[in-house]
């Protein structure tokens, strides 16, 4: 499960209209979707938000990886759905109310929308561009570097985690065996080597960077600079329209509950 979520965040260099967009604009767009997902509790607008991601995914040609990351998030989605419905059920005095079921479905879709949009962002934005965007937005280089390094090391760590799991399975560890608590404890022999090796790796990285004069000059120059192009302005406009629309609908348009339509 965990591997496929990481796969959904792994960037591959491809030439597509979405890949070539400015990361800053893409980020504003993702934030717009994020805000929309947060302010709605209803199924229809959340479903629309989800469907809105699909043209982006198709344009970028990353449908395979994108679907994989969604599949990876499925477990957590179920978890969110079940806990919501359980507590609503108890809260309503041990009865299933249509509105509660609808709400639980909506929060689950909200989670999927968030995974879907962030996944598109990370699948189509190289860590380098992301760092560049942060830097050009005035974030100190130390922080933007730390951020890009963290993003870059996610797939490396995921791969390492797989190797560690294999090594421990070869010593008879059965990750999926036992009660819920036991299963969580089963991951200790995986997490400790992973953390130790991440720390070791970061120390090595620091040494390697310092031996290549990291931080020698206060003012760094960049080989590439980000510039806004036509497509970027187009997406910016789309984003603002979406944000304006979502706020307008939220404030002035009542959204009928689905259950009113077919449950009663």
């Amino acid at each position: 499960m965990s591997r496929s979520v990481f796969d959904g965040l792994k960037f591959r260099k491809v030439d597509s209209p979405i890949h070539n967009l400015d990361p800053r604009v893409k980020f504003v767009y993702v934030l717009g979707v994020f805000v929309a997902a947060i302010i709605y509790n209803e199924i229809i607008p959340l479903l629309l938000l989800f469907l809105m991601q699909i043209p982006f995914v198709l344009l970028a040609g990353v449908q395979k990886q994108w679907l994989r990351s969604l599949r990876g998030a499925l477990f957590l989605a179920w978890f969110i759905f079940l806990t919501n419905i359980l507590f609503r059920y108890i809260g309503a005095g041990y009865t299933f109310l249509p509105a509660d079921i609808e709400f639980s479905i909506a929060v689950t879709i909200r989670f999927i929308v968030l995974v879907a949009s962030f996944s598109v962002f990370f699948l189509t934005t190289s860590p380098d561009h992301l760092g560049l965007a942060l830097e050009q937005s005035g974030v100190p280089y130390e922080f933007s570097f730390a951020f890009t390094t963290a993003v870059r090391f996610v797939p490396v760590l995921a791969e390492e985690a797989t190797t560690i799991m294999d090594a421990q399975k070869a010593r008879g560890l059965e990750l999926e065996k036992g009660s819920f608590m036991k299963r969580i404890r089963n991951y200790v022999p995986v997490l400790i080597p992973l953390i130790v090796s991440a720390i070791r790796r970061s120390l090595e990285l620091a040494e390697a960077m310092e031996s290549r004069a990291w931080g020698a000059t206060k003012k760094r120059t960049n080989l590439y600079e980000l510039k806004l192009h036509k497509g970027d302005f187009a997406l910016l406009i789309i984003t603002f329209v979406i944000i304006a629309l979502e706020i307008y609908v939220r404030l002035f348009v009542p959204i009928p509950p689905l259950s009113g339509a077919f449950l009663f």
Partner: protein, 274 residues
């Protein structure tokens, strides 16, 4: 006994790592699997304890098909020591590290104690029994990793790159240790790039290339076959290189053992006092 019948394996990424492997490794054999990076060596041995299951074909370990058994139960027969000890060490003491697998396999406390003492002595790690594995040197950590697998006395032992990062003395200890295990009737399979180490051990050598076996035979025969091993991005062992270059003198070419080399040279150009 390991029986591999026409095994194919494809990774999720689409890479076809094994393309029709057929191979039998008998009990008590010592086998070195060699070949360039990406030839499928590690992929192949990961099938032995079920970490990977073949996409097509089948693998039998002591007549049990790997697809019909769990990794844990196969691991009891096939001990797998990974290349990097840091990928498995996590306990507070060496003793607990070794006990981990034994507990997983459900041995009782008495047996666990006994096996820990036995394996620590075997690998001369006794003085580190209560030390944290993280405090040990690279070579010692590698030995702890080996001990943590040997502890349950598996019949088949797979060693992935056992000589990487080891100084010559450690390699020699390892070699003697392998000889000792072999004398006890264990099957040993090692994946390695270390030609000199293989030349010193002289096991059965299996050469892989692009997911296929390209040569299989006695170490002496394979490691002196310049053509076959160049194709697998391996270089002849130094002794074999010397004898290859001396070919025009009418000396044999299939020499990888240093003592054999000495004898041949003495016989040809003999100085009796040596």
């Amino acid at each position: 006994m390991i029986e591999i019948e026409n095994v194919y394996f494809k990774y999720q990424s689409g890479t076809e790592a094994l393309r029709g492997i057929t191979l039998t490794i008998k009990d008590g054999e010592f086998v070195a699997i060699m070949g360039q990076n990406g030839a499928g060596k590690t992929t192949l041995v990961k099938h032995f304890n079920g970490l990977l299951k073949p996409s097509a074909g089948k693998i039998l370990i002591d007549n049990i098909q790997t697809t019909k058994s769990s990794i844990a139960s196969l691991s009891k027969t096939v001990g797998f020591v990974f290349q990097n000890p840091d990928h498995q060490l996590f306990s507070e003491t060496v003793e607990e590290e070794i006990a981990f697998a034994l507990k997983n396999f459900g041995f009782n406390q008495e047996t666990i104690e006994k096996q820990i003492t036995w394996v620590l002595n075997l690998l001369s790690l006794n003085q580190y029994r209560k030390t944290s594995p993280f405090m040990l040197s690279g070579g010692e950590r590698k030995r702890v990793a080996l001990a943590s697998v040997l502890a349950w006395d598996p019949k088949i032992l797979v060693l992935d790159e056992p000589t990487i990062g080891q100084d010559h003395e450690q390699k020699e200890i390892l070699r003697q240790f392998i000889v000792q295990l072999q004398a006890q009737g264990k099957t040993i399979v090692t994946v390695t790039h270390d030609v000199e180490f293989v030349a010193e051990c002289n096991p059965r050598v299996i050469l892989m290339r692009e997911g296929k076996i390209v040569a299989d035979g006695e170490g002496k025969e394979i490691l002196t076959n310049a053509e076959a091993i160049a194709q697998s991005s391996i270089i002849l062992p130094q002794i074999a290189q010397v004898f290859a270059k001396l070919g025009s003198l009418g000396l044999p070419k299939d020499v990888i053992d240093i003592y054999e080399a000495k004898d041949i040279l003495l016989r040809a150009y003999g100085r009796p006092e040596e």
